[in-house]
């Protein structure tokens, strides 16, 4: 009974994963690994929730949502700039700076909530995003638009070609006159903005306030979706959909007779287990961008 009725739920849970994963994909295709997605989503979610709580009554619902999303994107983008400085300018280990930003986000989000609302969470806002036709939230449409836009940019525009070149063979790209660092910077900032957008969608559709376990691994699921989707837009889309479905089952399995005996944790594990198995099966065939995670040093400087 629940399967058809729960399509809006699947889309609601898939949208943030998909948007974040697309950002992560762009970042990795340019040659920068972004483990910080989890923390960046949290920053976005906090930014959106806090802004919406403060602006909802003075500005009106619609305008407040728009500005909150914008604030979330800018905040996450600012944090991803930190990753950019470490990974691109200082040649530091990209995994370390990613972990650092995740830890930092843990502190910063609750710190801001403490300062603004004197609690370890934001106040509750009255209404999040309103669901439209078919009970589907706008976040689903946003994620589809982002997906199509990114596919077009990556494969139809010169910028996309340059970006992919930077992730595969930065030396060649540089010698062909492409500014590798500039391209990588743009990719990191875009992935930050998208993670912020996803965090905002997450808090505005799935909750009424920001708490420290709102994101709880969604950023890592997005990271899994990038790898399981083989770093390609269609693959990432299908992987995100699968993982969104798994999250839906984790929530509603209790109500479905045949599945009610399975603990929800089994569905929670699916994204991670599936990705790990897929990585083992893909082994030997290098789908990952060749230069992903390797710092690029301009020779002769």
């Amino acid at each position: 009974m629940g399967i058809i009725n729960s399509i809006p739920l699947v889309l609601m849970l898939t949208a943030p994963i998909l948007i974040t994963a697309i950002g992560g994909m762009i970042c990795e295709r340019s040659g920068v690994v972004n483990i910080a997605l989890e923390g960046l989503m949290a920053i976005g979610a906090l930014g959106a929730a806090a802004a919406h709580v403060l602006m909802e009554s003075p500005l009106g619902h619609g305008l407040s949502i728009l500005i909150s999303i914008l604030i979330a994107m800018i905040a996450s983008m600012a944090f991803s700039a930190l990753h950019g400085v470490c990974a691109i300018n200082l040649n530091s280990d990209q995994t370390i700076s990613g972990v650092g930003i995740n830890l930092l986000a843990d502190g910063v989000t609750i710190f801001v909530a403490q300062i603004l609302f004197s609690a370890d969470r934001t106040k509750e806002f009255m209404f999040g995003m309103h669901a439209g036709t078919g009970n589907i939230y706008p976040s689903a449409w946003i994620s589809i638009i982002v997906l199509l836009l990114v596919w077009y940019v990556l494969y139809e525009l010169p910028y996309g070609l340059h970006l992919r070149a930077c992730g595969e063979h930065p030396e060649s790209a540089e010698s062909a006159g492409i500014n590798v660092r500039k391209i990588r910077w743009s990719a990191v900032l875009i992935s930050g903005a998208l993670a912020g957008l996803a965090g905002a969608c997450c808090v505005l559709t799935q909750s009424t306030q920001f708490t420290n376990n709102l994101i709880n691994g969604k950023g890592y699921i997005a990271l899994a979706a990038v790898a399981f989707g083989r770093w390609k837009p269609l693959g990432v889309f299908l992987a995100s959909l699968l993982f969104g479905l798994a999250q839906t089952f984790a929530l509603i399995a209790v109500n479905i007779g045949a599945l009610s005996s399975i603990p929800s944790e089994v569905f929670n594990i699916i994204p991670y287990a599936v990705t790990l198995i897929a990585l083992i099966c893909f082994s030997g065939k290098n789908y990952a961008p060749a230069a992903s995670g390797k710092p690029f040093t301009v020779s002769g400087s």
Partner: protein
Amino acid sequence: MGLDNKKGKLLGHDRDELINLADKALKREGVISVIVVLLGFLLGTLLIAFVGKNPSGMYSSIWQAITGHNTVTGRFNIRNIGDTLNYLVPFTLCGLSIAFAYRAGLFNIGAEGQYIVGMTVATVCAYYGPKVPVIHAVYCLLMATAAAAAYGGVVGYLKSKFEVSEVVATIMLNYTALYLSRMVCMALPGATTYNTSPFPKTALMKWGPLESMFNGSTINLGILVLVFGLLVYWFIMEKTILGFELKATGFNKNASLASGIPTRRSTILSMAISGAFAGAAGAVVAIGSFTYGRIVSGMDNYGFNGIAVALIGNCKTIGILLAGYLFGVLKQAQQFMQTRGVPREVTFIIQGVIVVFIALRSAAEIMRARISKMKVGDSKAKSGAPASVKAE
């Protein structure tokens, strides 16, 4: 011309000395660690001041965590020192875990997951182990360590056999461990949403005399596990052939393979031993700090902070212990900070900032490259002959 030369020499002399000093300082890894930590605290202090709170609250809390002396009431309580030492244990053990893999050239982000596996297995064994004093607790610890070693070793196997990146694999296994732990612990006696029924007394690492010495602190025999762990780490790394092989593999895998070192075995072993350290940390927290089983809903973050501990400690035994102490102090100081009106989350921010600033290590290398270029520039001017630039 002569005047110019003299002037250049004078200025050049001062400059040379300054450059040499900077070069020497940046070469010392310990100096960089201290700079990174100081920068973290500086940023934390500025942040507290920026939001209109008094930063001295943070420092008096830290003072209290270290010395047990409360500067507000003037009272002294040795319990605070004991609690800090208790927090030091899991941080340092997780630091050893990450450092062990790191020196073999592997990045174990999965210490968090291995920690959870250790915690879960210790919890299970606490109910179903042999209820004999001492033996029971040791049994819990050994089982937890073995299970976590297997959980880490799998990653090493996948890495050496299928070339699966250990970073991605361990990230996947972290949350897998979290949900598996929930499933297992929900099936234990007296399971509610958050915890299970109290452990049998024989499973606990508590020791009366130690507790009363520290005025009822949470400190327990886990501290012995830590001492043993530090000795094992130091011994394997510095005194055994295995340690040499691991370090060689981390330094240059192909050269090691060519000179007959079984690098595949090194990879699996180092991940397994790394997991064992994290598992021991989990066991110490499970049956040392708690008297009942926990059903965890999120990460404890000991494993992730272990990355910072290992890197600040430069993967050296003493360094890791000092860094672990710093993190233990920060954790213990949190509760005092809250009562002094300073948001305790600032300690998380300091920890995060420290990890991000570890990037300074590579920045230091860039700076040194620049310095050596300046030097080369000088010698070029003097001799007129080109000099080769050493990258390191």
